[in-house]
């Protein structure tokens, strides 16, 4: 029973539909974000224009509850927690009624949204998508940048870590509302560290240390292989991020649409060399390329003791801790993401978009719901239920979260990682129209690398494939 | 009962091959008409035209007083027996036989009753509840017949109904069919490539070749006075010997320099003309003189021998040797003397029979 059959369809829709929508909608000139935004000029002028686009006060004038539909991609436990939050919001006030609709994973949700947009169907007022869709949502011209609401409502963003706001800004403008944040972290079995004579409280901080720790684990006969990974472009991008090197040009695509990939950088070469060396030395095992199954297999390997360490999203924390209760012989610990350098990682995860096929009251209602979800109380609840990093710095003051952090320190590791020093080019991770095509180029390369290809050849191939994906997208939207 | 009349009927397939070419044919009421010819001669097409399974490109088809060119098969009051019997494999014999009654609005019990009646007539009562696959070839053939009989059509059309039976059963069934015809007093148009069937069963035979009517007549007429070389060669086993002959003067015909007949072609043929002499095998005897030939093969049929010989002109001669004693052997020189009273003459240019005497 294949429930992940949508990838081919996804690629078709992503490359085809956005282009169609764009061709149909795009007539005017492009601001960096592509949104119908006023050019940053006089502050007053900007403010009134923002109020027109996002009349955050319009809710007061509406008669009866304003109904809004919210399309999301949260399944399993996270889906349940989200449903509870929505229900509490609906029960807690009378002005807005939210209907949350699960639309498959992020990719399915995006595909359905674009199809509906293209065919003139009934659109939601708000949608949750992850960072790979950001450029395409901008290019679809179907959103209102949240920046306008922030300006109109004079919303205070000082409690939000700068790194996460930067992640969702294009051309200095906040495109979408952060909601759930994740970062890659290191999972490891402390018992193995002790057995190999290593300090379980001192996880490897970068790739160099990770390699020597791996060697110690294997040389002492503690585990057959030290590190287990799947073929996944996300941590790969993060290694490059930690070196402060851009993955695409135009400041990671944040000052203008990306034109060329930067996979020919020295940093990329270093990561490939490192992976190749680890793999050849038998220190690294690969579970394969295939989303959920390959990701799950990493934890199974650690749980069974065929490997000690793995790198995965902090979003898995909630579930992993739950499963670990039944595995007493594993002392699972969480450490910061071991970078290529000591620099910062980019925030990943889903964010909330305000859509422009909405009237004033609906926009105000979406803003109300978004900001309610953004409140520290809700963020704490969301984080505790799922393992996502809260969007608010002040969440760390919450007693419940602090208690959880004591019990499950891994949650704190991911939160603290947001304030790791270092600058990302353009302020955040790469913004790429066909980000999935870009990641495919990386993952194709990784597969070739693990199959024994030369790292230099792999790097050249990655660069040219990624270039093709970027050019293809830009050509389709007529640039 | 009804007559069947075809007037100048032509049928072309795919706009190219002329399967039936300007055919005129009258079948009398109650007549057993056999369409005889080799495969591909158009005889089955004629049957399908009468049935309404094909529509003619030209000409007129009438059944009884009615022109049926534009009448659907089901309105033509005909029944057809197929070479393959065309029994419906998923139905019991009872339902197979009663099947044609259903579109006429006859209720199930009445259909069954009729089916049983006809089945009894053909000795099929015991197999009524079986499926066609469980029956022998002969039984299936009778079921096909029963299915045709059950609706009491005015015309029966039969397409080689005996060709899938073994030799013994075929001879029996031949007689049965003739008996049935007399009993039903129905008009039958019967297609076969088997001349023995045609000769033994038909009231009249229509010999067809390349879509054209070659000869229409009774068995005797067809056998004794074949209208052309095709009929002469097609009807009769072994076939009629056809020798090239020369008219030597107004009064005699020679084969290989041997005078075989005194003939009077005065005014029609002059000396030196070539003709074809047709002699049935039984009209030749071996004698001390006559047309010379070398024995090529000898077949012992028990009561007689068939002997094949080659004349000096290269023609094949086949004759029956019914005398007692040792027959000639392969390689022997023999002399053949045809019975002058049983000679047929054909024009080699037109293939037509030359009326003589």
């Amino acid at each position: 029973m294949n429930i992940h059959r949508s990838s081919l369809v996804g690629r078709f829709l992503v490359t085809g539909l956005v282009a169609m929508v764009f061709a149909a909608a795009c007539t005017g000139e492009q601001t960096p974000s592509g949104v119908d935004a006023p050019t940053p000029g006089a502050v007053d002028e900007g403010r009134s224009a923002s109020e027109a686009l996002c009349p955050t006060a319009a809710l007061a004038g509406a008669d009866g509850p304003v109904e809004i539909e919210f399309w999301h991609a949260m399944s399993a436990t996270t889906g349940e927690v989200l449903d509870e939050l929505v229900a509490d919001y609906n029960d807690g006030q009378t002005a807005v009624q939210v209907t949350a609709v699960f639309q498959g994973g992020y990719r399915d949700n995006f595909n359905k949204y674009i199809s509906t947009l293209r065919s003139g169907g009934t659109l939601p007022s708000m949608i949750q998508l992850n960072e790979t869709s950001m450029q395409q949502m901008v290019d679809s011209q179907s959103i209102i940048a949240v920046e306008h609401c922030v300006v109109a409502a004079d919303y205070d963003l000082s409690d939000h870590p700068a790194r996460l706001l930067e992640q969702y800004r294009i051309g200095g403008e906040l495109v979408t509302m952060p909601f759930q944040l994740a970062n890659p972290v290191l999972f490891y079995d402390g018992n193995d560290f002790v057995a190999a004579g290593l300090d379980p409280d001192d996880p490897p901080s970068d790739l160099g240390v990770l390699e020597s720790v791996s060697r110690a684990l294997v040389d002492t006969g503690t585990v057959p292989t030290a590190l287990v990974l799947d073929v996944d472009a996300w941590p790969f991008e993060q290694w490059v991020n930690t070196a402060g090197v851009a993955l695409v040009d135009n400041d990671n695509g944040r000052t203008a649409r990306a034109q060329n990939p930067g996979l020919d950088s020295e940093a990329v070469g270093d990561v490939l060399e490192w992976l190749d060396g680890m793999h050849d030395a038998g220190l690294l095992q690969i579970t394969g390329r295939g989303g959920d199954q390959a990701a799950l297999a990493k934890f199974v390997a650690v749980g069974l003791g065929t490997a000690t360490m793995t790198i995965a999203s902090s979003a898995s924390l909630g579930e992993i801790y739950k499963q670990l209760e039944r595995a007493p012989d594993v002392d699972l610990r969480v450490g910061p993401f071991p970078g290529l350098a000591a620099g910062a990682t980019a925030v990943g995860g889903g964010s909330l978009y305000l859509l422009n096929e909405t009237d004033d009251a609906e926009r105000a209602a979406v803003w109300d719901f978004m900001t309610w979800l953004d409140e520290p109380v809700q963020q704490v609840r969301w984080s505790m239920g799922t393992g996502y990093i809260p969007t608010r710095s002040s969440a760390s003051d919450d007693a419940g979260l602090q208690a959880l952090w004591v019990e499950r320190p891994g949650f704190r590791v991911a939160f603290d990682q947001l304030s790791r020093p270092g600058d990302l080019p353009g302020g955040g991770g790469p913004v790429i129209g066909d980000h999935l095509g870009f990641r495919d180029a990386i993952e194709d390369g990784l597969e070739a690398l693990y199959a024994g290809d030369d790292p230099a050849e792999v790097q050249a191939e990655m660069q040219s494939n990624a270039d093709e994906a970027i050019d293809d997208y830009n050509r389709r939207i007529g640039e | 009962m009804a007559t069947v009349k075809l007037a100048a009927v032509s049928k072309r397939f795919d706009g190219a091959t002329l399967a039936v070419d300007d055919l005129d044919l009258d079948v009398a009421d109650g007549e057993f008409m056999v369409l005889l010819g080799p495969s591909g001669c158009g005889k089955s097409t004629v049957l399908r035209l009468i049935a309404g399974l094909e529509r003619p490109d030209d000409g007129e088809i009438s059944i009884g007083d009615r022109v049926v060119n534009d009448v659907d098969a089901k309105e033509r009051d005909i029944a057809m027996v197929f070479q393959s019997y065309a029994l419906y494999p998923h139905m019991s014999i009872r339902r197979n036989i009663g099947f044609p009654l259903k579109p006429r609005g006859i209720a199930r019990p009445d259909r069954d009753k009729e089916a049983e009646r006809v089945a009894a007539q053909l000795g099929l009562t015991d197999v009524l509840d079986r499926k066609p696959g469980q029956l022998s070839g002969g039984q299936r053939q009778r079921v096909a017949l029963a299915r045709a009989m059950v609706r009491r059509p005015s015309v029966f059309l039969m397409d080689e109904p005996l060709s899938n039976l073994d030799a013994k059963l075929r001879i029996e069934t031949r007689a049965d069919l003739v008996g049935l015809h007399e009993q039903l007093d129905a008009t039958v148009v019967y297609v076969t490539h088997d001349q023995v069937e045609a000769l033994t069963m038909a009231d009249r035979i229509a010999v067809l070749d390349t879509g054209r009517l070659q000869q229409l007549g009774t068995s005797e007429e067809i056998y004794d006075r074949p209208a052309n070389l095709f009929v002469a060669g097609f009807v009769g086993t072994p076939p009629m010997n056809l020798w090239s002959a020369t008219v030597v003067d107004d009064a005699a015909v020679e084969v290989a320099g041997v005078r075989i007949a005194d003939a009077s072609f005065r005014g029609v043929w002059s000396g030196g003309s070539a003709v074809v002499a047709g002699i049935r095998p039984e009209a030749i005897e071996l004698a001390g003189d006559g047309v010379p030939g070398t024995v090529g093969w000898v077949e012992d049929l028990g009561h007689e021998h068939l002997i094949g010989a080659t004349t000096p002109a290269g023609d094949v001669a086949c004759l029956r040797w019914t005398e007692r004693g040792k027959p000639p052997r392969i390689g022997d020189e023999v002399y053949m003397r045809p019975d002058p009273a049983q000679l047929h003459w054909f024009d080699p240019a037109t293939s037509e029979r030359i009326p003589w005497p």
Partner: protein, 281 residues
């Protein structure tokens, strides 16, 4: 290997044994994933990977009510059943009628129509999905059962399959029915259809499978939970690392049951279709 092969040749009996051993091996390979799924449905994540997971040490049907209730698999199963059955009926009716017409009826444009049907065979669903979605949207079909069914009631492959099956019927049988007084509908019902029953059975099963396993289309045209189908339900149960694997496996097995039932029901028809081959009387 060569020695084994020789010995098998020596005795027909041991050949048979070898054949059945091979069949048993193939059956075991085919059935293993199903067995594993059943066993995993009873275990926790940390027990995975070790071979112990395959030991049937406990049978726990506790996750069945959870899957049916909390995970709403019950409702999804009903929806999938309704939609799939409707699609099967639609596809069989249109395939039979169109297949018959394309096989036997002589009408202007038949060749062109046949070519069009053949051409539509090679158009992937992904290409038509956008246009279909657009149409259904404009007809107000979102969240309706008919929107889940309508785009699939004509099935080019089914039309082809039925046409081929009809062409396999001996010409004489159809001619006989014509002479016996039947029109096209009568021939179709009384003669042609009963003779292609095994093809209809195979088509039904195949189209049910396709309909049952649909994911993208139902996701596109439904927003309301009570209109959604079983594959979306399964997707909703699957998280990044998966919540309760037992519930997922149970739900997956529940989703497989209708197909198993159909296979058993249609088995005789299917095997007859595969082995009989001939319809000669």
């Amino acid at each position: 290997m060569a020695a084994d092969a020789k010995r098998i040749e020596l005795a027909a009996g041991s050949k048979l044994v070898a054949r059945y051993l091979l069949l048993a091996l193939v059956a075991a390979i085919v059935l293993f994933p199903v067995y594993a799924a059943v066993m995993v449905a009873q275990k926790s994540l940390t027990e995975l990977g070790s071979l112990d997971v395959l030991v049937p040490d406990r049978i726990d049907l506790g996750s069945v009510p959870t899957a049916l209730g909390e995970a709403r698999m019950g409702r999804y199963l009903v929806n999938s059943a309704v939609v799939s059955v409707a699609i099967v009926i639609g596809q069989v009716v249109t395939s039979v009628l169109a297949g018959y017409a394309l096989a036997f009826l002589d009408f202007t444009g038949r060749r062109a129509l046949l070519a069009a049907v053949a051409a539509s065979l090679i158009i992937p669903f992904e290409v038509t999905v956008v246009v279909n979605f657009e149409t259904v949207q404009q007809l107000g079909g979102v969240d309706t059962y008919w929107a889940l069914v309508l785009p699939f009631v004509a099935f080019p492959l089914g039309i082809f399959l039925m046409r081929q099956a009809f062409l396999g019927i001996p010409r004489d049988l159809l001619d006989a029915a014509v002479v016996d007084g039947y029109g096209h509908l009568g021939i179709l019902r009384s003669v042609a259809l009963p003779l292609v029953r095994s093809t209809v059975a195979a088509l039904s099963l195949f189209s049910f499978l396709l309909a049952w396993n649909q994911y993208l289309w139902p996701l596109l045209v439904t927003n309301r939970d009570d209109r959604r189908t079983v594959q979306i339900g399964l997707k909703q149960l699957t998280g990044a690392v998966g919540p309760d694997l037992g519930v997922i496996m149970t739900a997956t097995l529940l989703a497989t049951i209708p197909i198993l039932v159909l296979l058993v029901v249609f088995e005789r028809q299917l095997i007859r279709g595969l082995t009989a081959g001939s319809v000669k009387g």
